[in-house]
């Protein structure tokens, strides 16, 4: 392992930020403070964190309905995020998008998306743009195992390979599309096997191991930057909570024992152990870091709660851009 300390801590920090954000968001929803549907990312933190630590603000990502983790890992501002979940004017989308459409174009985060499979086509557009402008920027496209069955993925993957676009398709295979287990939605085990059908490399990686994701993503992203085209990177992971909301156990579509098994491979716990083992940081330092993040999250929640709702006039604003023409 030759990754430097800063990178390791950075990876840990990204994961902690996601976990803390999501746990608090879940609590707020249970308390009835946050309306709508929250699809939480708890359990999958290693994927977003491992990928995002290779990206700058000029690199883009497309996201999914389960998008908070992606935005947090991309550097999202807790305040604007919570304000958005609360539907406030100070939120990322002036409260108009909510959880399923949270986005930050300045960070290259092209939006959570309520339509499964909507990301891949948008991602190739951003990648096309990067190539057109002859930049070295890369677009990472996050999508689920369920989304891998949508036609949009197929169309985008084919075009990405054909044009050798600088894009990485990051499949977050958490074993379920909503309440349907992978083996009941596709007859294959490794979604990465689809890559060869487009003429791109397919890679499977342990999505609970942030270092493994970091390394595999690094290679795929570098490949894209070099102009060698797309990669399909499948990260095997697991969703600890329910499809929507926080309940993870006692559900009809999976056994608690399965959840318990996967929780033993909690990416945060695994990585913390590794950091301690490698003496990268002391338990106290990590504890401090977690506390700092929790404090930030609490501050952000307070900010959100103190923020105003959008004025009635906002209803008809932002439908069209008024410049140009």
């Amino acid at each position: 392992m030759d990754t430097d300390r800063d990178t390791l801590i950075d990876l840990y920090l990204r994961m902690v930020r996601i976990r803390t954000f999501e746990e608090q968001a879940g609590k707020l929803q249970e308390a009835g403070k946050v309306p709508g549907a929250l699809h939480l990312y708890v359990g999958e933190e290693a994927v977003a964190s491992g990928v995002m630590s290779h990206l700058s603000n000029e690199d883009q990502i497309t996201s999914t309905h389960r998008g908070h983790g992606h935005l947090v890992a991309k550097g999202g501002d807790f305040k604007k995020m919570f304000a958005e979940l609360y539907g406030r004017e100070t939120g990322y989308c002036r409260g108009k998008g909510g959880s399923m459409h949270i986005s930050d174009l300045d960070l290259g985060m092209l939006g959570a998306n309520g339509i499964v499979g909507a990301g891949p086509p948008i991602a190739i557009g951003a990648a096309f743009s990067n190539k057109y402008r002859k930049t070295r920027n890369v677009t990472c496209c996050f999508f689920g195992d369920g989304a891998s069955n949508e036609g949009t993925f197929h169309e985008a993957a084919n075009m990405a390979a054909l044009y050798r676009l600088p894009v990485v398709f990051v499949c977050e295979n958490n074993g379920f599309g909503e309440f349907t287990r992978q083996e009941r939605h596709q007859a294959i085990q490794d979604i990465a096997d689809r890559a060869s059908g487009y003429g791109m490399p397919g890679v499977v990686v342990d999505g609970m191991d942030v270092m493994a994701v970091y390394e595999a993503a690094g290679e795929a992203i570098e490949r894209a930057r070099r102009g060698e085209g797309p990669t399909l990177l499948e990260c095997k992971t697991y969703r600890f909570f329910d499809h929507v909301g926080v309940r993870g156990m006692g559900v009809v579509y999976r056994d608690d024992s399965e959840v318990i098994e996967w929780r033993k491979r909690d990416p945060l716990v695994l990585f913390e152990a590794r950091l301690l083992e490698m003496n990268t940081a002391s338990a106290g330092e990590l504890q401090q870091l977690r506390e700092r993040v929790l404090f930030e999250v609490e501050e952000a929640i307070a900010f959100a709660e103190a923020s105003p709702f959008p004025a009635d006039s906002a209803l008809l604003e932002d439908v069209y851009t008024v410049t140009g023409g």
Binding site: G87, G98, I115, Y253, F309, A314, L315
Partner: protein
């Protein structure tokens, strides 16, 4: 077909009415199957198909991958070869991802084949806003489908309609889109226990009245009832017509009402511009121009996507208050 005695007062929620309709239909006809995302093991994300897997097994209650074009094709191919599929598209907003199948394949196959295809296909979905689900999970897109020859479109306004229209839709030998309304799933009303059918293409006078006609679809029917109560206090005796079926549209019942009341307002959840209200308004003035004391009015959503923020969403979705205000405006009050 089961036909139990119906207790006259039995009430069901809208969601249960759908569930009972599905169950009874499937008991009566082995060619009916239900396919969709999470309809089997989970019983549907809205609970409409709960218990069906246990009763009918996985051959007839089919969970599918997230692949709506494939799903619609599954229904079309099965219908064209003699089955009677019910295909569930979870949210009406998702119709975009299988629009070609619905509009270019399902709707046109019969005509393109010179009449030879018989397509007893039902597509059931959930429309409407008001749940904090934002722009891609809150739309009412029925106007698109009403514009497409070959499709029928129904929009149940309550539990009784939900079951009765579903039964007719499934038994019809044509493709029918059943646009349920998610915000009224918990509404309760009397629903007969037997397998009854509400005829397609027939509007229903929900409330008789003498001096104002409101044509309301889906959730706007109950909102209009609330509005009518308020307006009654002001001496305005509203007649409410629920078209129930939007395609084919029972314009006769509507214009008969307007001939009596001389004023009409159409209320729907969909965006006002280009909504079904435009077609109804256009037809009403074509048919009974000389009876009209005022232009036909329309209440619908404003010209914007559905916003997430609760106060904005509340402003967005039409309701009784907006209907009352529009009626008053039309009467110059």
């Amino acid at each position: 077909m089961t036909s139990t005695e119906s207790s006259p007062k039995r009430e069901l929620a809208y969601v249960q009415a759908i569930n009972e309709g599905l169950t009874q239909l499937m008991r009566a006809d082995p060619d009916i199957f239900l396919a969709g995302e999470d309809v089997a093991l989970y019983g549907g994300v809205f609970g409409t198909s709960r218990g069906l897997l246990a009763e009918f097994g996985s051959d007839r209650v089919v969970d599918t991958p997230i692949a709506e074009s494939g799903l619609l094709g599954l229904g079309l191919g099965a219908a064209a070869t003699g089955l009677r599929p019910i295909i569930e598209i979870m949210f009406m907003d998702f119709m975009g991802v299988c629009m070609d199948e619905i509009v270019n394949q399902v709707a046109k196959m019969k005509y393109m084949f010179g009449g030879k295809a018989v397509l007893p296909l039902t597509i059931q979905t959930m429309s409407g806003g008001g749940t904090g689900m934002a722009a891609q999970h809150s739309q009412s897109l029925e106007a698109w489908f009403c514009h497409v020859p070959g499709l029928k479109v129904v929009m149940p306004s309550g539990p009784y309609e939900a079951k009765g229209l579903l039964v007719s839709a499934v038994r019809d030998d044509n493709p029918v889109i059943v646009a349920n309304v998610k915000t009224i799933l918990a509404h309760r009303a009397h629903v007969p226990e037997e397998l009854y059918a509400i005829p397609l293409g027939k509007a229903h006078i929900v409330r008789p009245g003498s001096n104002f006609t409101i044509v309301a679809t889906g959730r706007m029917v109950s909102e209009s009832l609330t509005a009518a109560d308020q307006l009654a206090a002001e001496g305005i005796d509203v007649e409410i017509v629920d078209p129930r079926t939007l395609q084919p549209l029972d314009i006769e019942t509507i214009v008969t009402s307007v001939r009596k009341t001389h004023r009409a307002l159409i209320a729907h959840e969909a965006v006002r511009f280009g909504g079904i209200g435009a077609e109804i308004a256009a037809q009403v003035q074509e048919e009974v121009f000389d009876y009209l004391d005022a232009p036909v009015g329309r209440v619908g959503a404003p010209f914007a996507p559905v916003p997430f923020s609760p106060p904005l969403e509340k402003l967005y979705v039409p309701n009784a208050g907006r209907i009352v205000a529009e009626v008053r405006r039309m009467l110059g009050r």
